[in-house]
């Protein structure tokens, strides 16, 4: 099986502060890969480097066998940033169709994709509303819809379900599973342990280093405990 994301010895520092320290990570194609770790551990920084929005001081990243950053590659990556980046003076639909045109979708495809993405995140009824009148969760959902708009092969989602209610969260995860079945590769960061449980593989990041990786079951075995929450606390928390 081909590896979709290959991270090779990536280090990154902001000023004197080392935020990522020699990260190695491989995401196989068709996987849902979870990044968990305490706040400030460097997950977002790593995700930005994968998308090409930040460049590492050392090491390199390859996505779909292409070295990042690459313009053609961006067409195939759906990115959802941790902070919603939406045009609040435009409606949900205008936001979606703007990004759709940036991906050069044809008019009819555009319509189809907007309908699909809006339906997925349950925003169809609110598409004509201006984003500034959206609730926090609605904005989050619209960001996810933007990430899916061009039907990308790789999805990189930075805390996609923050502020989204449990019911919708479940349906979003059901869709992620469906997307996975169609061969898409998905990388998510999360703080929610029952979401981590749903990933095929997990990496725990702490202080800019990957301290442990494996399937959820492997991690639990490794620490001899039954819930991921405890793994998080044991491995990720401050060590005594």
């Amino acid at each position: 099986m081909l590896s979709t994301i290959v991270i090779n010895e990536v280090s990154k520092s902001f000023g004197k502060k080392l935020v990522l320290n020699q990260i190695n990570l491989t995401v196989e194609s068709g996987q849902i890969y979870g990044l968990i770790g305490p706040s400030g551990s460097g997950k977002t920084t790593l995700v930005k480097i994968i998308v090409g929005m930040d460049s590492p001081n050392q090491g390199n990243v390859q996505v779909l066998n292409t070295v990042v950053p690459n313009l053609k590659l961006l067409q195939k990556i759906g990115y959802m940033a941790q902070a919603d980046a939406l045009y609040s003076d435009l409606t949900g639909e205008e936001n979606l169709s703007f990004f759709a045109s940036l991906f050069k979708l044809k008019k009819d495809v555009q319509k189809e994709r907007i309908a699909y993405a809006a339906d997925l995140v349950n925003l169809t009824a609110d598409l004509k509303k201006k984003v500034q009148n959206y609730s926090g969760g609605m904005k989050r959902r619209l960001s996810l819809a933007v990430a899916l708009i061009q039907d990308p092969d790789v999805l990189i989602l930075d805390e996609p379900t923050v502020g989204i209610d449990p019911e919708l969260r479940q349906s979003i995860w059901a869709e992620l599973f469906r997307l996975k079945k169609t061969g898409k590769t998905i990388l998510v960061t999360t703080h929610v342990m029952d979401e981590a449980e749903k990933c095929d593989r997990l990496s725990m990041v702490r202080d800019g280093e990957i301290i442990t990786s494996g399937s959820p079951a492997e991690l639990k075995n490794q620490y001899g405990i039954t819930s991921l929450e405890e793994v998080f606390l044991k491995a990720g928390g401050k060590q005594q």
């Binding site: 998308v51 090409g52 929005m53 460049s55 950053p69 690459n70 313009l71 053609k72 961006l74 067409q75 990556i77 990115y79 940033a81 902070a83 919603d84 980046a85 939406l86 045009y87 609040s88 003076d89 435009l90 205008e94 703007f98 990004f99 045109s101 940036l102 991906f103 050069k104 933007v146």
Partner: protein
């Protein structure tokens, strides 16, 4: 294609932002109208008190639009009481002029008028004395007829290369103002728009799509450029048709100059937005980058500036813009006379555009 998506989005946003639209389209008209009335208001005749003045002189002063009052003494209280601008006192051969000087410009003008009137009176007296003298000589020397030309005070026929005798300061100032407003408002609106994209993270999000960096810059230039076209046409039409500002040259040349200026303002605005973290910081560029421009746009004569100021002036886009606008609107020059100014402006724009494309590397290396 991607540029068009950007242009379309900017249109949506602008048309929805009624305040920004009004600021761009209506505010310049308001300021121009105010200035027009302020600067073209009729000047009040100066009031001059005279002591022991000759009647002929008083007549001449009155002819020169001076309100003349006979007064008894020359004291501060009297000047203030009677609301005089000055007192002219004759004391034998001595003449003294006291000026209130609360408005130095008006005082200078009054002084010049009084001096002219006195000189003219003197010349007339001398001419009369001279002809009387000649006549008496002629009468004493009969048989030798000497044809004497009448000595007259010379009259000057004034003609004007640009404008006419009714031209006021506003006529020369207005071309500069028309250009400056376009420059200022386009700078502000486009700069703040891109700044907002930076602070809300949408610019970063934009660069996570396959759009080229230069397409973003061009999209902005086109999107806001189209609004600048509308603004320019509204402002120039209003200035010429409603305010009756002098426009000797072609309307379309004025539009071309203003559009070039708008291009510079646009590219400068979005460039400077990279160095601001908030809308307020964007406003802080106005006293540094915008206001000084207007001083060098032709309001103060370039020739009388110190050498280093002249060099500074040549670094300011408005210097070229103001110059070209005065050429076309006031002096009636054609396109060939302003080509140089336009080229320099385009040069500025080009440099700013390239810097913009490079500055976006901060978000994405390619």
């Amino acid at each position: 294609m991607r540029i068009l998506a950007l242009v379309k989005r900017i249109f949506h946003q602008m048309l929805r932002d009624k305040r920004a639209l009004a600021l761009m389209m209506v505010a310049p008209l308001l300021v121009l109208t105010l200035l027009n009335y302020l600067l073209s208001g009729n000047t009040v005749d100066p009031r001059l008190g005279v002591i022991k003045a000759d009647d002929n002189l008083v007549e001449r002063l009155k002819d020169n639009d001076i309100t003349v009052l006979q007064v008894e003494e020359n004291t501060k209280d009297l000047l203030l009481d009677k609301d005089l601008d000055g007192v002219l006192q004759f004391d034998g051969e001595n003449i003294s002029l006291t000026l209130t000087n609360d408005q130095p410009n008006a005082a200078k003008a009054l002084q010049v008028k009084v001096q002219q009137a006195i000189a003219a009176e003197k010349a007339k007296e001398q001419a009369a004395t001279l002809s009387a003298f000649m006549e008496s000589i002629q009468s004493k020397l009969p048989g030798i007829p000497v044809k004497m030309e009448q000595v007259k005070a010379p009259e000057i026929n004034t003609s004007y290369l640009y404008g006419n005798k009714d031209t006021i300061f506003f006529d020369q100032l207005s071309p500069i103002l028309v250009g400056f407003f376009v420059f200022f408002f386009v700078f502000l609106i486009s700069g703040i728009a891109l700044l907002r994209e930076r602070t809300t993270g949408t610019l970063e999000r934009l660069l996570a799509t396959p759009i080229l960096r230069r397409d973003i810059v061009f999209g902005y230039l086109m999107g806001y450029g189209l609004f600048a076209v509308v603004q320019t046409i509204i402002v120039v039409t209003y200035a010429v048709k409603v305010l009756d500002i002098t426009l000797v040259g072609s309307f379309w040349n004025v539009v071309i100059i203003n559009l070039t200026l708008a291009l510079v303002a646009l590219s400068l605005g979005i460039l400077l937005s990279a160095f601001a973290n908030s809308e307020f910081q964007m406003m802080q560029f106005i006293p540094i980058a915008i206001i000084p421009q207007v001083f060098f746009a032709g309001i103060f004569p370039f020739e009388s500036m110190a050498g280093w100021m002249q060099i500074l002036a040549k670094c300011m886009p408005m210097y070229y813009g103001g110059n070209a606008l005065v050429e076309v609107m006031y002096k009636g020059s054609g396109l060939s006379e302003i080509t140089n100014d336009l080229l320099v402006l385009l040069g500025f724009a080009l440099v700013f555009i390239v810097l913009n494309v490079v500055a976006l590397k901060k978000y994405r290396k390619i």
